[in-house]
Structures are given as structure tokens and as C-alpha cells.
Amino acid sequence: MSDTFKLNIDGVEVEVPKAYTLMQACEEVGAEIPRFCYHERLSVAGNCRMCLVEWEGAPKPLASCAQIVGDLRPNRDGSPPVIRTKGAYVEKARNGVMEFLLINHPLDCPICDQGGECDLQDQAVAYGRSDSRYDENKRAVEDKYMGPLVKTIMTRCIQCTRCVRFVAEVAGVEEIGMISRGESAEITTYLEKSLTSELSGNVIDLCPVGALTSKPYAFNARPWELRKTSSIDVMDAMGAAIRIDAKGDAVMRILPETNEEINEEWLSDKSRFVWDGLARQRLDRPYVRRNGKLHPVTWPEALDAVKAALSVGADQVGVVAGDLIEVEQAKAALDFFRGLGVKNTDCRPASAQYGTSGVREHYLLNPTLMGVEESDALLLIGTNPRVEAAVWNARIRKSWLWGNLKVAVIGEAAELTYPYTHLGTSADALNGAAVREFFKGAKRPMIVAGEAAACRSDGAAILSAALSMAQETGAVSEGWAGFGMLHTAAGRVGALDAGFVPADGGKATKDILGGALKTVVLLGADEVDLSQVGSAQVIYVGSHGDAGAARADIVLPCAAYSEITATFVNTEGRVQMTTRAVQPKGEAREGWAIFRALSGVMGKVLPYDTADELRALLRGKAGQNTAFSGRGYAPGAKGVSALIAAPPAADGGFGNAPFGRAIADFYLTNPIARASRTMAECSALATSLDTAVAAE
């Protein structure tokens, strides 16, 4: 039996695998099949009937999305079955389906947020009648509450059940369902409770009509008015592909773009709905603190103030880079401060024990995000991917659901949307027999350590033990680098690649902020503990008025990620670039330009005048291979030799203190998210749900 099957589609003979659906086969020859319920990444429902095609000789049209090619049979004379996706027969069938779909669909396109990007609208134009023959009353459906992100207008629902399948299969929280039946059928969450998934916003994209729309974006803009810019998300370390839709100088919404290697086509709620934070709490001009209050000043005044603050001696200055720092700023700042002789520079959270070995592979997610689909045993050490990389968590779930992945966790036993073996809460478990038992027979083991494991005093020993474990279990071998770190911050890997770590004899983050220095420079660092800074002068360079700016003596405003064309390196080591979607706010400048200007004021001019010159420097000369040479690809197993080498020696062993959480609140991990009202609402809701569960 051959695995392929011959078909005659619209007069073109094509041979496709038997496992294909008829719809896939039709698309193979370029035929366009309309659909509502079918979605490539969800299971097949076959309930909208829009994808009908004709099979010559069949008594009825076929729903091509649900018809497996292998179930067709050749004609009696042995010639391939004849399928038609065009012609009067198919037109009439689709026309009839469309008329039924529109019977109960309201004619409220002029006030519908989906208008202009609505599958039903488009397909009604293409396949529908010009008028309706239905003159009964249309049905009306009560709107449902689905939380602060998803707005529902359920009368518009055509019951394709994409949202039901998405939350059950991809998001892994079975919370949406179709209740009742027939004309009474309704899509709802259980008793109209809020969705608890971090991926709930994706149902808005999936909804082919305007039943589920974005609540924060409601009535804000029409799709054709928006300026669309492809960019990169910085809310987590995945670097998901996004599209920033802007009107004037305001970001109106953020949508995912497809990048199979990172986010497929999903996006986490934080990345999607953070945009209102880009317009709030913005630092739009420089400030200097006088008599305890921040006063607006001009740029030259601010730079002079910075010059004075930095003239305390290089060993009295410390620089901490924050979570959202772009590579250009990190590089320019590093060059600038190194030029002054400053050794105290760090881009890592307090007590972080990675990034100083000089081996890039030690802090990358070498197996790659997509690699989890090849893996058959995944061990998560001190990391909760559901909050640290929500979209990747969906991919892990996918690999568990459709593949043969099994997962084990060392650390907090959180709900991850897939079952896992809980091996322990502390690093002790790495020595146990259970972990070896778990990896027994695994062909592609994968070990991922998180910041909760790496950011503690014994973090180096834990990472070293994890790498040894990887070597012992065969997780690192030629062609498979199954050991890696999952970062939480978009800027971290890029800054590490730029060398933003303490120089020899320099202080790390914890000591920089420990009160011993006279001047502390924060590059958007708001996640660090500033309570011990003491009387030090604090210079804050960042986009949002948050913890850092509140403590700062000098504030230099810089652009946020939607306002710059800048380089970010994701947790896999994939170099990607954002694109400027809107202008920086007020007098805010790009981060690297601030340090270029400062270098002039200080008389130590940096050797680049444009961002392109800076990037050329980062990429290195032609033929030279730096971390920034390539763009868009993850090194993956290329660096496996560095992992096969003996792990870096760590002083002492590790304690048995349980791993904490790297992220306390998924919705409030950075200054932009904390400035967002939507995120605040989500956070409050999630907290109240957590408390309610704990109280039970």
C-alpha cells in the first residue's frame, strides 16, 4: 500500500499523502477553500460546512476539512477521484451554507470591531447572496463575561467552536464550552467566570466573526486606519513576533505574527494587551531632583548633572541594566562606562550566578523553543514556563498532548496545564534516583533551568550540577544540545552577549545596590531591590516612571520598545530586531544615543554616530562570527561542544532551600506592564482568584 493517493482537483492531477485532509489536498493545487471552524492548529470540528467541495459521483457535497484523502476511492475505471472546488454545484452549496450562517447573524457590521478584518464579512461578499430571504425574527444571545480582556457580543457567534477547542487544546484550561443545543446553543465560560489562561487573548484572533473581540481595544480604531509594523515582543525572553498597530503616535493594539520557531501564531496576554502601558507613566523629558523633588530640565542640564554625578571616581560608580534593555543601549552604555574605567556593571538580577563563564551556551536555551517538540523527556529546574514563557508552555503542552513528551519538575509544584512528575522542590532532587529513573530510556532528554534556580547564592553549583546531569543522561551529544536556561527578561541574553557583566574585580548587582557606592546608574532596572542603595546618587535611564525613577536623582527619558529599531536576543540566542512603530514620547531619546551624547559631554567620544554604525560594530567585520552576526536564527546544537566540556567549577555544593518563583505576578513583570491598566485589572483578578482557591 502506498502512502500517497492520486486526486484530480479542478482538472489538476495531484498526489498527496493519504493522511491529508481534502482541504489540504485542494490547497496543494492552489484552490482557495473558505472556512470558519477549521484551523490548522486546532482539531477538526467540521461544523461550519463552509468548506464544501464536490466529489464527482458522491450524493452530497463533502466538508473538505473533515474528509481524509485516504478514505476516498478511485473511480470505477481506476482513474483518480474528481474533486471540484469551483463551479455551479459548489457555489450553490456554499451559497446555501452562507445564507444559513447569516440567518441569525446580526447586520451590525458598522458598529462591530471585527469589521474590516472579519472572515464572515469577507466570505459573505465572496460566496453569499446579495440579499436575505429570511424574514423571521433573528435570535438574540446574552453576552457573556469572559474577563477583562475578551469582550463578547454573542449574538454574532456562528458556533464554529474555535475558541472552545483553543482553550481546551492549546491553552490547556477547559473553561469555554458550548452549552444547550440547537437554536439555544451558546458559547460561554462556566457560569461566566473569567478565563484563567495567559493565552486567552488568542481567542480574539481565532474568532472568525465579531463575537469575541478585544475589550481594551473596543471601538478604538478601524483596521484600515492603522499603521502596521512588524516587530518583536519584549514582555518575556521568547521574543515573539508581533505586529504593532498604531494610529498617529499611539499604539492601538498588538497582534501576533507567525513565527513557527518561536510563538507559532499565539501571543501571551501580557504581550498582547500591554500597549496601554506604552501611553501611561511615560518619562517624556529629563528630570533632576532638587530639594527632594524632581524638576523638569533640558537635556544639556541633565547631562551636566550626570557628568557631575559620575565624577566621583570610577570605582564609586555602579551600573545595573534592566530587563528590557536593548543590545544597542547595553553596548553603548558598556563602552561608555568602561571608557570611564567603571568595573561595576551588571545586567543580571541580584545573586545571579550565570553569564560570567564566558561560554555563551551556558546561559542560552540551547535546545531551542521548537526543540521541545523533538524531546521526549523534559526536566524543568526552578522554572515555571507557564508564567515565564507562556507561549512556550503551550508548545510543551502540545508536545505532551500530541507527541510523546514527558515532563518532570524540580521546584514549585505549579499548575502547568500538563501533567508532570514532581521530583522535589529543591536542588537536592538532582542527586536523587528519581531523576535518573525519569530520564531512563529517553532519547532526546532536555534539561531547562530557570532564574529561580540560577539567581541564588548556590546558583552556580546548581547550574553546574544540572549540566553534569545533562551530560550524564545524554542530553548533550552531537546534534542535540539538551541543556539550557529559560530567561525571563527580553534584554538579558542580549546584554550578556554584549558583555554587560562585572569586569574583573567589579561588583555585581547585589553589591552595586548594597549602599557602598556613591553613584548608581539604572538602565531601566526596576525589578531590583533599591531599598539598600542608601545615600547614593541614582541616575535612572528608562521609559517609564516606576520604582527606579521614583528613587532617582536624575532621570533621563529613553524610548520604549515600540519606538525604536533595536536588537534583542531571545533566550535561545536568536538575534532579532524590533521596528519603530511610533515616535518616542516627548524628548525621550534612544538609549544608545543618550550614552553617545554623554560620551561627548564627558570628553570620551564613542566611535559611532548612528545606530547602524553601532550595529556594524556589534556584528563584527566580514567573516568574523560574533553573537550578533546572524539574525533570526537560533544557534541550537551548534554550540554543543561547549556543553560537552566539563561544567564550570562551582565553589561548594548547593543548599536544600526550595526554589522560589522567578516571577511573582505574571501580569506585572516590567515597568510597561505595571503602567498598564489592563494588566493591573488582570493582576487584581488573578490575585483574587488565587486567594479564593487558597481559602477553600
Binding site: E175, I179, G182, S184
Partner: protein, 249 residues
Amino acid sequence: MALRRFDLEAGGDSFAFKSETEEKIAFWRGKYPADKQRSAVIPLLWLAQKDNNGWLSEPAMREVANRLEMPYIRVYEVATFYTMFRLQPVGKFHVQLCGTTPCQLRGAERLKEVCKKEIGKPMFVTDDQRLSWEEVECLGACVNAPMVQINDDFFEDLTPESLSAILGRLRHGADVTPGPQIDRVNSAPEGGTTVLTDASLFDGSRTRVSALPNLPKPPEPTPEATGLPEADAPTNTKREEPTSKEIKS
């Protein structure tokens, strides 16, 4: 079909299966493998409804979901799909009145009027908590139309008067007799059998082996094969007298 929603207020906060139900739950769950326990959702919902005075409250539904380790929404979908799961309180005696075509042709509309008059609107529970009614689709007793189902029993061949009498008796706690409310047994003709009345049809005297010409010759019938039927063999010429019984609530 109207919108179906849980009566959250009447459902309260808790529900527990009766202890004697556990055995039935174990029976139904035992029919399915350990990883397919959710197949037992409909029987368990039905048992929960029985244990909850004839309707399915939200805590009862949750209890079923918890036992089968199913997400609530999946059980909710089932409970709202099947109208036999009632999401609002019902009376001690819940009347399901068939309104489908055969019953309608035979006077179900008039029975509806009786229910409206004696009880009230559909799904309304009388103040004494004894009666409620709703219209349902075909219950499969068309030959005895019109009919109603009260709790687990059919009451058939109704007239407005006989239904009114039944409701009156139920309201006052008196016994009622399920089955046809006219002079007939099950679905047999009213007033007794009118065809196939010849006793010889049933006494075995007409039993003989016939042979087809092109068949091999059959063996001689043995004396046992031609024996007379037993004296009390069931026939449909004998009529059973309807017995009165208390119907279960």
C-alpha cells in the same frame, strides 16, 4: 426551547449523594476503564438528579464533575444539552406532558390547558411543592396518546378530566394508577380484544408442521413437539386487572 440556566439560589452550596446511591455510582463507573471514566457522566448526572429531588443543582453537577475528574464546563455542556436534566427545582410530582404530533392530534393541547389551570406556567412549582409541569417531546407512547409522564410512570389515554383527577389525587397524596386511564390493557384495543379472539389460535390445536414440496422430507414430528401449551401460557385475550399503587416520587 427556552434558555436553560441553573437556579443558583435554590441550588444552595452543597450536595451529597445519598449513601444508598454509592452502589449505583460504582456500578456505572465500573462499566468504563479507569481513563474513560467520563463516559459515566450521564448516568451519574441522572443519579444526582434523583438524589436532589428531581432536579440538577449546580453543586450537584460539580459533585459529578469532581467525581469523574472532568472540567466543570464539560459537564455543564452535557447537563444543558439534555432536557431530561432539569436545572430548576421541580415539584414532588413533576409532570412531563408530551406535546409532539400524535399526542397533539389526540388532545395534548387540552391537557396543557389543564396543567396551566391546575399548576401554573411550565416549570412553576406549586406552593405546596407537590406539582410542576413542562412540555416535552415524544416519550414514545404514541399509541396511547395523549399521555404524560409523572416522575417515573406513564399515564396514558388521558382526557382533561382524567388528568385533572390524577393531579388532584397527587396533590392530596392519594394513590394513582399508572398506565392507560381508559378501559384497555397496555396498547390493546379499548374494551378488550376485537380480533384474534378464537381460543383455538392459542391452544396449540392449529400447530402443525407444513412441508414445502421442494424441501427434504422433514422428520416425523415427535409426540413432544405437538404437545399442548401450558395451561397458564400468556395470551392477550386474558385481561389483567389494573392494580393501584403508590408511585415513587
